[in-house]
């Protein structure tokens, strides 16, 4: 049976070139990057190379603006907690209602345990940030504004360059969780006012367990993890040299493929989306269709539930994701779709298809072939589907 992997926003396959590059750092080049002897200095050189490869992908001005971490969540936590320590009496956070739990759960904890005021900025039916509400929430009390670069569920891109400037006008730091955006859209951080940026290796064909926090030169940072003096005292712990080497290679490959990502991959995504909408009534694309990551399609199928769809897709060899409650183990459907006011009739049945450069046109053909019967089978069993409501979706957000 043909296997089609369309869950790249969850994780990606490690690129074979990245695997090959990291393997020697488990064997002959096993030294500690911080050691003074030859064993260590060779590894230290490899770590520096990885740092510069990542610097190039991000368009950062200095290589020392890259702090390697254990992943995106650690980077997000470091950025926000550091800002609360370094911003004097400022003790408020501005973020969005559709952030990843790495930000939202931390904010909820800060509200509860430290009495920090958090402003959650809403989005419209397309998932676009309410910029006016964001502007109003910023004040002399704001320590940090943390807004994701692109949403992990819908791919909707936020105008982070402009949001960073607005944050600076209020004297606040600006951080962006760019875990989904890095490697998919071009970045040139030195030309922006972004102070901190989080990324995760396994979203761009590097291994799990390695990530980075970009910290603009001059921005004060208080480490989350304290101990040794690695990463210039900003993240203690022996460097994950194999992971860093692989991340460096993955960053270089991402840079090489970014045009492919925005042409061929985007075209596959669009063909899948249009094909699904043509073949299956009562479905629509969730998110900002005009300003999205090129690899992400979130298609909501009305009157059926996401986990059931995924189980049948899995049987047909297709891997994707659902924001349905039953998939996540929680009881409420995706907080992102609920923030967009997608009705329950559709929010439970939204499927995220996320591509990578490894996908092919044949993958799209296979999905288009099997999805109509999967949706039809489940709708036949749904008490809310009587055939009379076949056709246009009841959800018609105004895209003014």
């Amino acid at each position: 049976m043909k296997a089609v992997y369309l869950d790249n926003n969850a994780t990606t396959r490690v690129d074979p070139a990245a695997v090959a590059a990291m393997l020697p750092f488990f064997t002959e080049q096993f030294g500690n990057a911080s050691s003074m002897h030859a064993f260590g200095s060779e590894v230290g050189g490899a770590v520096l190379k990885g740092r510069r490869q990542l610097q190039a992908l991000l368009g950062a001005q200095f290589d020392h603006e890259i702090v390697f971490t254990g992943g995106g969540t650690e980077s997000d936590n470091t950025a926000i907690l550091s800002a609360l320590e370094t911003q004097g009496a400022r003790n408020e956070i501005v973020t969005s209602a559709v952030e990843h739990p790495a930000v939202l759960a931390l904010c909820a904890w800060l509200e509860k345990s430290r009495g920090i005021k958090v402003h959650y900025i809403g989005v419209d039916a397309r998932g676009r940030l309410d910029v006016e509400a964001y502007r109003k929430a910023l004040s002399p009390r704001t320590a940090i504004a943390s807004i994701m670069w692109a949403n992990n569920e819908t791919g909707t891109i936020f105008p982070v360059e402009m949001l960073a400037e607005l944050a600076h006008e209020a004297g606040a730091l600006f951080h962006t969780d760019a875990v989904q955006a890095v490697g998919k859209i071009p970045m040139n951080l030195k030309e922006t006012a972004i102070d901190m940026l989080s990324l995760s290796g396994h979203k761009l064909h590097a291994p799990k367990g390695i990530g980075a926090l970009y910290v603009r030169r001059g921005v004060r940072l208080r480490p989350l993890i304290r101990g040794g003096h690695q990463e210039r005292g900003r993240r203690a712990g022996t460097e994950n040299a194999p992971g860093i080497v692989a991340l460096g290679v993955a960053a270089e490959l991402a840079q090489q493929h970014i045009e492919d990502e925005n042409t061929r991959v985007r075209a596959m995504r669009d063909r899948l989306e249009q094909g699904l909408l043509q073949r299956i009534g009562n479905s629509f694309v969730a998110g900002d269709v005009d300003n999205r990551l090129p690899n992400t399609a979130n298609v909501a199928f009305e009157y059926i539930e996401g986990e059931a769809i995924l189980l049948l897709m899995n049987k047909a060899g297709i891997a994707a994701s659902s924001g349905s409650a039953c998939t996540s183990g929680s009881l409420e459907p995706s907080h992102v779709l609920r923030a967009m006011k997608v009705p329950y009739t559709a929010a439970h049945g939204a499927i995220r298809f996320s591509f990578s450069r490894e996908n092919t046109d044949e993958d799209v053909d296979h999905v288009l072939e099997v999805m109509p019967s999967i949706i039809a089978k489940l709708r036949e069993m749904s008490p809310f589907w009587d055939g009379k409501n076949a056709g246009q979706s009841g959800f018609a957000p105004t895209y003014a």
């Binding site: 995924l310 409650a325 009881l331 409420e332 439970h348 036949e380 069993m381 008490p383 809310f384």
Partner: protein, 309 residues
Amino acid sequence: MWEYSDKVQEYFFNPKNAGTLDDASGVGEVGAIACGDALKLMIKVDPESERITDARFQTFGCGSAIASSSALTEIIIGKTLDEALKITNQDIADFLGGLPPEKMHCSVMGYEALRAAVANYRGEVWEDDHEEGALLCKCFGIDEGMIERAVRNNGLTSMEQVAHFTKATGSCGTCVEGVEAVLEKTNAEMVAEGLLDPAQAFVMGAVPVVPGRQQRKSPVAPPAPASSKMTTVQKIRVIEEVLEELRPALRNDGGDCELVDVEDNRVMVRMTGACVNCQLAAVTVQGIQARLAERLGMPVRVIPVPAGK
């Protein structure tokens, strides 16, 4: 992906009795699209024998919801209504070779739909929403009666279990206190009826019993638990006896404890002497609570009240 048994997968991928039953004698509809689960159960009943001759379902929900619905129809076809009403959600789960704990609410939905369908056949009024008792969880439309049934039928003793079986408290969380109260009350009734070990019963604010430790016997065997149907006067006598037994230890530490009042399973006490403002007062109260629960044979909540009350 959830760990589903082979039978759950079989009943999901190849559901039996899916679809509509045009000449249904009774229809039960439970759940709602907002909740992410809904089931419409249709049954055909032979009026002479009151035997279910056919059943069909339509389900909006996950794999285990569809499998549970299909299993339910298989189980009830051929049974009389009275026989069918004896089926519990655990029977549905067992039929499927078990469900993940987080998915037990799917089997509860089947159980509820069956009751609704039978009520519909018998011409009884059935309302899914707060038909029995207060509507507690507004997010998922769960009423007091449904929580009580889920707790009783499945021997639930924790809030986590209640969420898994009913979804109540799973969204905004504003109903937590109300659901806790129902769980506590129902567990207390089950203890009184001899259906639940007092040590397992949920008591608000009590420290959960560590699995494996609750069976450990104390060095001195306590007197046998008092009758579950004690009058208030009998309860007070037992409480006074327990406090009298504990008093020497409290006095050795320069403190004391007096009984103030008893209301249902709440025991109001006044801590005096060194027990007032003691940093370990909470531990002392928990100790008294555990001893009282053991002797009364029911969960109790010991509440210290200020002097003068």
